[in-house]
Amino acid sequence: MIFMSLIALGFFQIVGIVSSINLPQGSILGYASSITVAQVIEGTNRERATQGLAQLTYNGVLSEAALAKAQDMFNNQYWAHTSPTGKEPWDFIKSVNYNYKVAGENLARDFDSTGPMISAWMNSPTHRANIMNPRYRDIGLAVVDGKLNGTETTLVVQMFGTLVDGSVSNSNPSVEVPAVTVAETKPVVTNTPVPVNVVNKPQTKEELEIDSQEVIEVDANDLENSSPNDVLAIASVPQGSLSQGILMSPLHVLKAFFLSIIFLIVVVLIYDFLIIGHKKPSRLVGKNLAHIILFIFIAYLIVFFKGGAV
């Protein structure tokens, strides 16, 4: 039992050491995804088209809200629909004067390409409900690279909405790409965000219905008269910060590490199996073939394991 505990302790110690190595940013380990706003919109509209739903129109103001949300998550180091200070998604939407009657938000992180991210959203009933909601007309997006909890990642904020009838919103995006400043000192809130969907009825005091049946009140004065700004739907890594080094995500590094361990174990087990086959000594241990089969399955799962969180 002591031997077992030592093995387990040693294993977790090695994993801890590897994960806590603080590599200088950009010198060895860099990471950036290939996700673009255009791809996400195209993927979203493709999914909607399969159900005959209307195509969503890119809205620059909503994208500004999405960018503000993404920057807020990096600055305050959290991963949730509600910030540690209690800021809700629609607070960001209201702050850019998008006068909505219905709105929603999907989040994603750690994906390195658009296809798997859209698939993950579609595999999640709540995220899928947002994408396939026929009440939405506009879509806003932010794809922001940065450091969350000490790990290079890409956050994708997808905001949906429909303007109150008669409202005007500037939906023309700017082509500029801002540099995003990210913080990495505050602790991360690690609760998994559930997509939110807000219905905003055009009355003075309005009830906002969220998909979890929670009801909150919002002052409609906050939603008055928008003054749309040019918005930036995509933000890239500050130039130079990730320009050096190998392009590998933390998940790929972890996969490579575990695969190396498993490869080593399987080689030792096969070697042991062959030696025992020749010498046939009396021994009490179990069956190497079973262990080899198990580790081959584990290696297969590691290879095909898909990262990302929604």
């Binding site: 039992m1 998994t192 009490l284 073939l289 079973a290 198990l294 584990i298 297969y300 898909k306």
Partner: protein, 85 residues
């Protein structure tokens, strides 16, 4: 290896089938991490009990064998479990 497989083919077929089903379910339930972690715990427990049962039937169950299967199932489970974070 083939001789060993033939000798206990029923036990190995059960093992491979369960691992195959586990693998398909594990990949199917992506990106639901909670279900994936539940499946990992199930797989680790299954492997441990499979090893104990097989050796018990052969009257070769020993403390060392129990520790061996416990450590292998823990290692396999831990590797997959850590990936899901």
């Amino acid at each position: 290896m083939i001789a060993e497989f033939k000798k206990h083919h029923k036990a190995y077929i059960v093992l491979i089938l369960i691992l195959l089903i586990f693998s398909l379910l594990f990949l199917h339930y992506w990106p639901n991490r909670d279900i994936q972690r539940f499946l990992i715990i199930f797989m680790s427990s299954f492997y441990f009990f499979w090893g104990v049962m097989v050796h018990s039937k052969m009257n070769k169950l020993h403390r060392h064998v129990i520790f061996e299967y416990l450590s292998v199932s823990l290692l396999a489970g831990s590797v997959l479990f850590l990936l899901t974070f």
